[in-house]
Amino acid sequence: MLALQGDFREHIDALRAIGATASEVRTAEQLAVVDALILPGGESTTIARLLLAFELMEPLRARLRAGMPAWGTCAGAILLARRVPGLDRPPIGVLDVTVDRNAFGRQLDSFEAELAVAGMAGGPLRAVFIRAPVIREPGPGVTVLARLDDGRIVACREGRVLATSFHPELTDDRRMHEAFVALARDAVAARGSAA
């Protein structure tokens, strides 16, 4: 769990509630030993600066390119994208999409909505959008997982990298976390059988 800034505690609580092992990552040494990484909600400008300041950007990019599973929520999704208009630091850039920051406006425009996610059993989930970004221009390798009623993309996946504009960690619905932990376990198993 990337723990430079943001709501990482909520993610850790959610992961532990479903029986996963979760630890905080603030240094390159801590990054080197995790099997998968969640990038939490927070302020993307703050987290981008801290990634650079603590020399985490390059090791993180290298691990993601080598196939480490990752999931970015809100600010985390922004950081994973290849194209982020207006972000004055280069994002990590492993997800072939454009992400517009604060796409809905200011805090007054933050909202909750029922959202159907592709491949998720049990009906729509309650999605919380806080100064949320929107995903557009998905590349050919990107699968769109969820759209708002007006068609805007708010969840997608490319390989083992998952991005959501909303915050499953702020609700009691653990299905997104379960899906990510399953993805991470598959990746670990694949690595084990390849070795």
Partner: protein
């Protein structure tokens, strides 16, 4: 759902429900582990964002200058707040006087991201705080102990900060308030269920919130520290004492006249909040800092100069 005021503009184009309690308290969750900096110009706001602030507080004067200037301290000028909003992409907060709900209506009309109903400004009402449930913009309020925190949350505050003593650069009051808050939380958490009504009476707080603290073992909203942080070590101290993040006021832009030194201090405090429990990192981020705010010992203030006692 605590708040039915969904009359706010919906930039979501009607695809969802705005101004819910989850959404109001949720923004504070995103600020955690971060530093919210007081700024008085658009230029300061840019320095703050560049240094890694997770939000800025738009002010006419930082608290130490409010002390020096005397007179009545009010909500900042609308033009100033709008300039600061235009200068940065991080959330912008602004302060209103305790009980001054029209100042709050104005801040909501110009779409600030958070309103601080603050003892740093001269109170407009000595008895009543603002009914914060009536607003779509979320509020942060100060507290000195658990009872004060729960009264503010009961009125609708979606985030709490311990008050400290603003504009002093002296951490002692911030420590006092954070310790008092957590000591109250621990007491409620370890009480028997049938003791909670009596504790609610003692803390002059809504029983439902006392029960929630009992269940959670913490406040039901995010809690930052404010009022006296002047160094990276101060910020890390407050984090180790249980803050979710820190507000820094005069400590950054009063540390030096030199903008580069201000940015260095701002950046060091941001890094200290991330690595608050790692002394080697804290030593590293403290290296190279040359100037700190001179400050004024809180114990040397006259009773009428103390801000934390405003609003209860």
């Amino acid at each position: 759902m605590v708040n039915g005021n969904a009359a706010a503009q919906n930039g979501a184009g009607g695809v969802g429900e705005t101004a819910t309690w989850t959404v109001k308290a949720g923004l504070a969750q995103m600020l955690k582990g971060g530093v919210i900096m007081d700024v008085v110009t658009a230029e300061h706001a840019r320095i703050a964002e560049e240094s890694g602030a997770c939000a800025v507080m738009a002010l006419e004067r930082v608290p130490s200058d409010i002390r020096a200037a005397g007179g009545v301290a009010r909500m900042s000028r609308v033009d100033l707040i709008e300039e600061i909003k235009a200068a940065v992409t991080i959330p912008v907060m602004a302060k209103v006087r305790i009980g001054h709900f029209v100042e709050a209506q104005i801040l909501q009309a110009i779409a600030v991201d958070y309103i601080d109903e603050s003892e740093v400004l001269t109170p407009a009402d000595e008895q009543h705080h603002i009914d914060k449930h009536a607003f779509a913009v979320p509020f942060v309020c100060g507290c000195r102990d658990l009872g004060e925190a729960l009264r503010r949350i009961g009125e609708g505050a979606a985030m709490i900060r311990t008050k400290g003593e603003a504009g002093t650069g002296d951490i002692v009051e911030a420590v006092r308030h954070m310790r008092a808050l957590w000591s109250g939380i621990r007491r409620v958490a370890s009480a028997r269920d049938d003791e909670l009504p009596s504790l609610a009476k003692e803390y002059a707080s809504p029983l439902a919130l006392v029960q929630e603290v009992h269940r959670l073992g913490r406040l039901p909203v995010v809690n930052f520290s404010a009022g006296g942080v002047a160094t990276p070590a101060d910020a890390a101290l407050m984090m180790q004492l249980g803050a979710d993040g820190v507000f820094v006021g005069s400590g950054i832009f009063k540390s030096s006249e030199d903008e580069r030194e201000q940015a260095k201090m701002a950046n060091a405090i941001v890094k200290a909040v991330t690595h608050f429990a790692d002394p080697v990192m804290l030593a590293g981020v403290s290296r190279g800092l040359t100037e700190t705010m001179r400050g004024r010992a809180a114990a040397s203030l006259l009773a009428e100069e103390l801000l934390a006692g405003r609003g209860n």
